[in-house]
């Protein structure tokens, strides 16, 4: 005990994985330090991801709603927006959350070290500040939560004007007349849905046969139908061959087609784990295609190092990282949390309409030759959907026929991202479709579609 370490755990990275892990660690009585190399705490989620994009999407939603306000009995003239103020509101929310995080660190007596954190041999972590000063910290455990960075397209370097990435678009000064989104993943599709609603002519170019490849084909088909109404064209199975900066616009070329001009091109082809230059080699930790391999308790090949979030090959989602982070520090603190069940891990896509899901898609089950049944119920007949002017959407429950265990749930429509939480809980508790059908849902709400879909599985919906 004579040469006790300074910390029980040092967490590298303050994103939704690291920040939550730090607070939980402190709550469990661990002496905790958090290292962040960026100017602000919160990582991608708070600074360039979930939070600012959802703030902008809320403006887009309101804009759309105001345009249809006459339907609800209002006399409104032409609704216009002020992009600067839209951006200011977004920034205000981000700033408030950053402040909140600082407060939480202080409240929980977590030492925040600003600088570049690196593992530096067993039980040691170094912090290099912007001015090059290196501090060595000693610790019993380290948690790598360095997250991910934007993947770049070698032949389409961004320039901040005509070819930009998802970080840069968050401080872009205008809504471009035309926008080409390269990559129809979650990030690209959400930005398409945002700018489309603000009036951009948007084209999504996706190499795979469907945008949002990991989502159920039925949800995506419905989304694409809705996106068309928001000035968005979706091109799937399309290979990009060239991106050319032309000063005030960019030219993009896809295989077999002539070059097309767009005011702005957004490159959103995914994210890559940040695992270089964080001292993994000093702990003897190897990476596999950039990812750190961990056991079911997030321990790496080095006993004293844990890793969570986007640096490990699990779903790269903020809430997933948070759950993993809490789990890891609970293990470090000597607790025995149950292994995380990723089949209950929710996916949430904040397009209009929203898509949310847990578990497996129908196409994946088909491919794996798993026996399943589908029960689906649309929003349209529900009173609440009409009241909310949100009749587009459905709940699709895929279940195993013998015990009616939930295999996958796919919701598209208003409030889908809120409603999926019911299924996350249901899945964790190993609920079958029967219990969902027998759960009384409040009326009138859109959540009644969940109960109705369960009734479909039980032999018949009530309101269809």
């Amino acid at each position: 005990m004579a040469n006790a370490a300074q910390y029980d755990v040092i967490i590298i990275g303050s994103g939704p994985g690291g920040e939550v892990a730090a607070i939980r660690a402190a709550q469990l009585g661990l002496k905790t330090a958090l290292i962040e190399k960026e100017a602000h705490l919160g990582g991608t989620c708070l600074n360039w991801g979930c939070i600012p994009t959802k703030a902008l999407l809320e403006s887009a939603k309101t804009y759309k709603k105001l345009q249809h306000a006459t339907d609800l009995g209002f006399n409104v003239g032409t609704v216009t927006y002020d992009w600067e103020r839209v951006m200011q509101r977004k920034q205000g929310i981000v700033d408030a959350q950053r402040k909140g995080l600082r407060f939480l660190m202080k409240k929980n007596k977590i030492d925040v070290h600003e600088g570049h954190g690196r593992l530096a041999g067993k039980g040691q972590v170094s912090v290099t500040t912007a001015d090059g000063k290196v501090t060595k910290l000693t610790t019993r455990f380290a948690l790598v939560a360095t997250g991910s960075r934007i993947r770049t397209l070698p032949f389409a370097p961004t320039n901040g004007r005509t070819v930009i990435n998802s970080d840069e678009i968050l401080s872009f000064d205008r809504v471009p007349k035309s926008l080409c989104v390269i990559g129809g993943g979650v990030v690209g599709t959400e930005f398409a849905s945002l700018y489309g609603r603000f009036g951009s002519q948007v084209t999504i170019i996706e190499m795979a046969p469907q945008i949002l490849p990991s989502e159920d084909a039925d949800s995506v088909k419905e989304l694409v139908r809705q996106l068309k109404k928001q000035n968005i064209t979706v091109e799937t199975g399309t290979k990009l061959t060239a991106v050319e900066d032309k000063g005030d616009h960019a030219l993009i070329t896809t295989e077999g087609q002539k070059p097309r001009a767009f005011e702005v091109v957004l490159v959103s082809i995914g994210r890559a784990p940040v695992t270089e230059d964080i001292g993994l080699e000093t702990a003897g930790i190897k990476t596999d295609r950039g990812f750190i391999n961990v056991d079911s308790h997030y321990k790496t090949s080095a006993d004293w190092v844990y890793a969570i979030g986007d640096v490990i090959p699990t779903p790269a989602l903020a809430h997933t990282a948070s759950a993993e982070g809490m789990h890891a520090v609970e293990v470090i603190a000597g607790h025995k949390p149950p292994v995380i069940d990723y089949s209950a891990n929710p996916n949430a896509i904040y397009t209009a309409p929203e898509i949310a899901s847990i578990g497996r898609t129908e196409q994946a089950l088909k491919e794996a030759k798993v026996e399943y049944k589908v029960a689906q119920f649309p929003f349209a007949p529900m009173a609440r959907a009409k009241i909310d002017d949100a009749t587009e959407g459905f709940v699709k429950i895929i279940y195993e026929p013998k015990y009616r265990e939930l295999l996958g749930v796919h919701i598209i429509g208003a409030k889908a991202t809120e409603m999926i939480a019911e299924f996350s809980l249901g899945k964790i508790l190993e609920t079958t479709v029967d219990e969902i059908a027998h759960t009384i849902h409040p009326h009138p709400t859109i959540s009644e579609t969940i109960m109705e879909a369960a009734h479909v599985a039980m032999g018949g919906a009530i309101h269809l």
Binding site: P337, P338, K402, E405, L429, E430, T431, T432, E435
Partner: protein
């Protein structure tokens, strides 16, 4: 009128018992019953017993047929007090009554049939913690459905979920486990299953030998399962002492005539062995414990189970608080329990809560035996036949009635020395027995 209806529930027969088989109705629908009058006979894993009527009136409806196995607390019949009669049995079993009569009498029914049970009756599997209450294990809707479909006893499945909740994965593990007997209720045999037999005409053969296949009785499968589990759970060690029964023989012979005249049954040697075992337990209580994971559970009572062979197999009625009884008291208790065991009148409580067991194969001529520990106990005493032999006493040869007594103990908690010291003291008690022990 509703107040006059009493639902008869399948009573809780003991902790860990989730279902019981209805052997037969002793009353038929339409018949009058009096409260406390035997209404039906049921059989559980542990014991067969009669269930008294919870109320007086007319048995109007029965929902369960003879031979059906019913979960505890299910409505099995309705008794209506007052005049109205004439209802008949439904042809199909109906576990849940559609009407909503009062359940006020239900607790009374349970109280009548179930004496208070202090300790767990169900022996745990090696991995699971001891069942210390009658609560159902935490599980999930999916797990319960799977358990029903696969006939899995969830009390035997270790849970790995939050706070020990049994998850789908745990059930799958139990199903895949090489010894499914610990988890499967009733269905599977703990004996080696999956023997490859062949069909030879209309005969089944095993390795060329014609065989006749017979389903084990419920009791047999349970005994088999318990034995396999006990051997897996406890490292068994046996130590044997030779004991001179001269003193006991003398005392017994002197007391016999008066005892038989007074009690109506003979004074056997068994009460003396029980008495001596209890005295030795008082000195070495480590043989009277249970092991729960890394914990030892010390017991405040000395409850001696005495193995009784019955027609269908083996039952071990328990002499509760044997430490408070003298030899005659023990003799009376043993006679009562053994008689009722053979006539199937034991109450569930009377085969539970044993803390130490005694088996007496000496009755059948056995000299020495190595029994299997009755889980979750940690020791069992085996008594051989008492046989007169020449012995050397003070360099002279004399004839003495000798008995070989073995202690089989769980080496997790008792070492060779402890076992030997226990028997040495037991020997001392028996060899120096005098009238004052009666």
């Amino acid at each position: 009128m509703q107040n006059d209806t009493t639902e008869v529930l399948m009573p809780l027969m003991g902790e860990g018992i989730t279902e019981a088989t209805l052997v037969k109705w002793l009353k038929q629908p339409g018949e009058q019953v009096r409260q406390e009058e035997p209404l039906l006979e049921v059989s559980t894993d542990k014991v067969d017993t009669e269930i008294p009527a919870p109320a007086s009136g007319v048995l109007t409806e029965v929902f369960v047929r003879d031979g059906d196995t019913v979960a505890v607390n299910k409505v099995i019949a309705v008794i209506r007090s007052g005049a109205a009669t004439g209802s008949t049995a439904r042809s199909t079993p109906k576990p849940e009554a559609a009407a909503v009569p009062t359940k006020a009498a239900a607790p009374a029914a349970q109280a009548a049939a179930v004496p208070k049970v202090a300790t767990a009756a169900v022996a745990p599997s090696a991995a699971a913690p001891l069942v210390t209450s009658g609560e159902k294990p935490r599980s999930s809707p999916l797990v319960r459905k799977m358990a029903r479909a696969e006939s899995i006893d969830l009390t035997q499945v270790p849970g790995t979920g939050l706070h020990g909740r049994i998850t789908k994965r745990d059930v799958e593990a139990a199903l895949a486990s090489p010894v499914p007997a610990t988890a499967r209720a009733g269905v599977s045999s703990p004996a080696v299953s999956g023997l490859v037999t062949k069909r030879d005409g209309d005969r089944e053969t095993l390795e060329g030998v014609p065989v006749r296949r017979e389903r084990m009785s419920k009791m047999r499968t349970l005994i088999a399962e318990h034995m396999v589990r006990s051997v897996r759970t406890s490292p068994h060690v046996t130590t044997i002492f030779e004991i001179d029964m001269h003193q006991v023989t003398q005392v017994r012979a002197k007391a016999q005539a008066a005892f038989k005249a007074r009690e109506g049954f003979g004074l056997t040697y068994t009460p003396f062995f029980v008495h001596a075992a209890v005295q030795a337990i008082k000195r070495f209580p480590i043989v009277n414990v249970s092991v729960d994971g890394d914990d030892i559970l010390w017991k405040d009572q000395i409850n001696i189970g005495v193995a009784v062979a019955i027609e269908q197999g083996l039952i071990v009625p328990v002499i509760r608080d044997a430490g408070t009884l003298n030899v005659f008291g023990i003799a009376r208790r043993i006679n009562d329990l053994a008689t009722r065991a053979r006539s199937k009148k034991l109450l569930p409580d009377e085969v539970q809560g044993g803390t130490f067991s005694i088996t007496n194969p000496g009755m059948f001529g056995s000299l020495v035996s190595s029994p299997i520990i009755n889980q979750p106990q940690v020791a069992i005493l085996s008594i051989g036949a008492i046989i007169k032999r020449p012995v050397v006493i003070n360099d002279l040869i004399g004839v003495r009635p000798l008995v070989q007594i073995g202690l089989t103990f769980d080496h997790r908690v008792v070492d060779g020395e402890g076992g030997a010291r226990y028997l040495a003291y037991l020997k001392e008690v028996l060899e120096n027995f005098d009238d004052s022990g009666l």
